[in-house]
C-alpha cells in the first residue's frame, strides 16, 4: 500500500493545488499540507496555525479546477483515493489539458488519459461496490458500524454516501486495512486512526436482524437458475469476509 496521498494525513488538497498548477503550466511548488472540504465534510485537522490559509488556497484551486473541467476535478479526487500511484499521470494529463483544452480528458486514444482513467475507474468501481456491500452491525452504544478492507482509500466517498443514507443517524466506517475510521455522530464527523479506529468495530454478537437476513438471502435465490460463477464475478470473494449472508 502506498503511504502517500492515499492516506489520511494529507487530504486531496495538495493534489488539487498541484493539478491546478499543472493546468496553468507551472511546475508545482512545495504544496502546503491541507485538507479538502469537498469530499470530506470534516477532514482531518491540519496544523491549526495554517488551517485557514490552506483552506482558502485549496478552495480557490479547486474552484479553478472545477470551472476548467469537473471531470478533471473528479479524476483528481479519485487519484487521491487510489492506492496506486496515479499522481504523476494526473499531473501529466492536467498539463496536456491546460495546453490543449479540457476535451482531451475524454480522448481515450491518448495513452496517459487512458491509463489514468483505468486507474480511476478501479477506484470508482470499488466505491460503488462497497456502497452496496458494506455491512453495518448495531453496537451496544447504538452506533451502526461497518468494517471494511477496501483496496483503495475510499472512505471519504463512502462517508458522503452514507451520510445521505443515515440522514443524521450515528454511524461509523472502519477501514481495517489502513486502521482508519470515520465516525458520524450528532451531525459531526470525526476521523480516528490506529487502535482508536478499531475500537469502533461492531461487537461480535449475532443480532436477530442478521439471522433474518440470512434466511431471506437463501429464500430469494432461485435454485433452478443456479450460476455461482456469475455471483463471484459481481461480488469477488475478497469482499465476502464481512458479508453477513455468506458467513456461516
Amino acid at each position: 500500500m502506498k503511504p502517500g496521498p492515499g492516506s489520511w494525513e494529507r487530504g486531496p488538497g495538495e493534489l488539487i493545488l498541484a493539478a491546478r498548477d499543472a493546468l496553468e503550466g507551472k511546475t508545482a511548488e512545495g504544496p502546503p499540507c491541507g485538507n479538502c472540504g469537498e469530499l470530506f465534510a470534516a477532514a482531518p485537522a491540519a496544523p491549526p496555525d495554517r488551517q485557514e490559509e490552506d483552506e482558502a488556497l485549496i478552495r480557490a484551486a479547486s474552484g479553478r479546477l472545477r470551472s476548467f473541467s469537473l471531470e478533471l476535478y473528479d479524476l483528481c479526487l479519485l487519484s487521491w483515493m487510489s492506492s496506486e500511484d496515479l499522481e504523476p499521470l494526473l499531473l501529466a494529463v492536467a498539463r496536456e489539458a491546460g495546453a490543449a483544452g479540457p476535451s482531451i480528458i475524454f480522448d481515450y486514444s491518448r495513452q496517459k488519459v487512458r491509463l489514468l482513467r483505468r486507474g480511476c475507474d478501479r477506484v470508482e468501481r470499488e466505491i460503488h461496490r462497497l456502497a452496496g456491500l458494506a455491512r453495518f452491525g448495531r453496537r451496544s452504544d447504538g452506533i451502526y458500524s461497518a468494517p471494511l478492507e477496501p483496496d483503495h482509500a475510499v472512505l471519504p466517498a463512502l462517508v458522503r454516501h452514507f451520510l445521505g443514507r443515515f440522514a443524521g443517524g450515528d454511524f461509523a466506517l472502519v477501514d481495517c486495512r489502513r486502521r482508519w475510521a470515520v465516525l458520524s455522530t450528532e451531525g459531526q464527523l470525526h476521523v480516528l486512526s490506529g487502535d482508536e479506529a478499531l475500537e469502533l468495530l461492531p461487537e461480535d454478537e449475532v443480532s436477530e436482524a442478521e439471522g433474518l437476513w440470512k434466511l431471506y438471502f437463501s429464500a430469494t435465490e432461485n435454485p433452478r437458475r443456479r450460476k455461482p460463477e456469475l455471483q463471484r464475478r459481481f461480488m469477488p470473494e475478497r469482499y465476502w469476509k464481512y458479508l453477513t449472508e455468506l458467513r456461516s
Binding site: 480522448d107 452496496g132 443514507r165 440522514a167 429464500a219 437458475r225
Partner: protein, 419 residues
C-alpha cells in the same frame, strides 16, 4: 408461524418476479428520517443464481384467489399459506435498511381478497414507512390487477415504482392459463399509471412542490416460454408498452415449471438463452435506437441461438456497412457490433482533436474482433470482407447466457436481474 418461517416462505414466493431495480428516483430524508433514494441504484448482494439483491422482495400474503397455471402461489397449489402484518414488514425493512442490506422494499401480494382490499394493505405499509417512519429509501409496489383507479393513484404518491405484471404475451394465453386475469384490465391499469405519471411530470414542471407520482415509473414482467408466442410477438409487445404507456422497464422471466400441468410445456431446463436474447433486444430498443420491426427479417420470428440480435441485424444489412469510424454519426456507430454507447462516445470525443487510427480504436476499448468486420477508416475496410458464413461463425457467442451484451460498461446502472 414465526417471523423467520414467514419471511422464508413469502420471500421464496416472490422470487419469480425478476425486477430488482432500485434506480430512477432521487430523494433525501428530512429531519428525523432514514434513508435516501439515488438515481443510479445500488446492488447489495448477489445470490447463487447470479442475480442481484437490491430490495427486500416479499409478498404480503401468498394466499391467492387466482388459479394461474404457471404460478407457484396459484389457489389450487398445495402449499403453506401465510401473511405478514404491516408492522412486521415495516420493521424488517427498517432493520435491513440500517444494516445496509437493501435499498428498500418491493412489496407484492397474492390476491387473497377483493383487489381493492389487497391494494389498500400494500399502500398502508408504504404509508407507514413514508409518513410515520419518514423513510426515504426506495419502495416498489405491485399494482393488483382489478383494483380501483383511486388506489393506484394513491399508491403512486408513496411508491417510487409501481408494476403491474402482464405475465403472458397474449390475451388468448391469459385466458387459457390465468382464467381470472384479464388482459384488458392489466393494460387499463398500465394506461392509468402512464397517464398519472405524465400528468405529475407536467404539474411538477409548473409547480416544483407538486408531489411526484411514482418517480421511477412503471415496469412489468413477461414470462417467456410458458405459452406459444414467439420472440417477435414479445418484442412487439414490449415496444408498444414502452411507446404507449411510457414503461421504464420490461422484464423477461424464463418459465420455470412449478407443477405438472397439461396446458404447460415441461422443458428440461428454463429457456435462459431465449430470455437472454430478449434482454439483448430490449437494450437495442431502449438504448440503440432500433425499432421492433427491424429486429426480424422477413418471416423470421425468433432470435438466432448462435449470434445476438445486433449481429443478426448487421449480417442482414450488408449495404449499411462498412461504417467509417472517422466520419460516421453516433447513431451509425451504434449499429456496429462491438460498439456500444460508451465506445461510440469515445470515438466521437477523440475524433474531435485528431484523426483516428485503427490502433486508437483498440485502445479505446472497442471490441475490434467483432467491429472490424463492419468498420472502415479513410475509405479502407479494417478487415478483408469474407463470406457471410465465415463472419457469422466468427461472431457466434459461445459464452453461456449471463450478462446482456451491449450493457454499458460503467457501473452506473446495475440492474442485474439477468440469469
Amino acid at each position: 408461524m414465526d417471523l423467520g418461517e414467514k419471511l422464508s416462505l413469502l420471500a421464496a414466493a416472490a422470487r419469480y418476479d425478476a425486477s430488482c431495480a432500485s434506480s430512477g428516483s432521487a430523494r433525501a430524508s428530512g429531519a428525523g428520517g432514514l434513508g435516501a433514494a439515488l438515481p443510479a441504484g445500488v446492488c447489495h448482494s448477489w445470490t447463487g443464481d447470479g442475480r442481484c439483491v437490491s430490495l427486500l422482495k416479499i409478498l404480503y400474503s401468498n394466499a391467492c384467489r387466482n388459479d394461474c397455471a404457471y404460478c407457484v402461489n396459484r389457489s389450487s397449489a398445495d402449499i403453506r399459506r401465510s401473511s405478514f402484518d404491516a408492522e412486521e414488514i415495516v420493521s424488517l425493512t427498517l432493520e435491513f435498511y440500517r444494516r445496509n442490506y437493501i435499498e428498500g422494499l418491493f412489496l407484492s401480494s397474492g390476491v387473497f381478497s377483493d383487489p381493492d382490499i389487497v391494494m389498500e394493505r400494500l399502500i398502508e405499509v408504504a404509508r407507514i414507512l413514508r409518513e410515520r417512519e419518514l423513510f426515504a429509501g426506495y419502495i416498489h409496489l405491485k399494482g393488483i390487477p382489478g383494483c380501483g383507479e383511486a388506489l393506484l393513484r394513491k399508491a403512486g404518491l408513496y411508491a417510487d415504482r409501481i408494476s403491474v405484471n402482464i405475465e403472458l404475451p397474449s390475451s388468448h394465453s391469459l385466458c387459457l392459463l390465468a382464467p381470472q386475469k384479464s388482459g384488458a384490465e392489466i393494460l387499463g391499469s398500465m394506461r392509468l399509471l402512464g397517464e398519472a405519471e405524465s400528468e405529475s411530470r407536467e404539474d411538477a414542471a409548473r409547480l416544483r412542490s407538486t408531489p411526484r407520482f411514482a418517480p421511477a415509473g412503471q415496469s412489468t414482467q413477461i414470462i417467456v416460454g410458458a405459452s406459444p408466442e414467439d420472440d417477435r410477438c414479445i418484442v412487439n409487445l414490449a415496444a408498444s408498452l414502452y411507446r404507449r404507456y411510457g414503461l421504464r422497464r420490461v422484464y423477461y422471466s424464463a418459465f420455470i415449471p412449478v407443477a405438472p400441468d397439461p396446458r404447460l410445456p415441461s422443458p428440461a431446463s428454463p429457456p435462459l438463452l431465449r430470455e437472454h436474447r430478449l434482454y439483448q433486444a430490449d437494450w437495442l430498443l431502449r438504448f440503440y435506437g432500433y425499432g421492433a420491426d427491424e429486429l426480424f427479417e422477413g418471416a423470421e420470428s425468433s432470435f438466432a441461438a448462435d449470434i445476438d440480435p445486433k449481429c443478426s441485424w448487421a449480417l442482414g444489412h450488408p449495404s449499411f456497412f462498412p461504417v467509417d469510424a472517422g466520419r460516421a454519426s453516433y447513431a451509425e456507430l451504434l449499429r456496429v457490433p462491438g460498439i456500444g454507447p460508451a465506445g461510440a462516445r469515445r470515438i466521437l470525443a477523440s475524433r474531435s482533436s485528431r484523426s483516428l487510427r485503427s490502433e486508437d480504436l483498440r485502445k479505446m476499448g472497442i471490441a475490434l474482433k467483432r467491429a472490424s468486420w463492419f468498420l472502415s477508416l479513410d475509405g479502407r475496410p479494417l478487415r478483408e470482407p469474407a463470406q457471410a458464413e465465415i463472419v457469422r461463425a466468427d461472431l457466434a457467442d459461445h459464452s453461456p447466457p449471463g450478462n446482456a451484451a451491449g450493457r454499458p460498461a460503467s457501473a452506473g446502472q446495475l440492474e442485474l436481474e439477468l440469469s
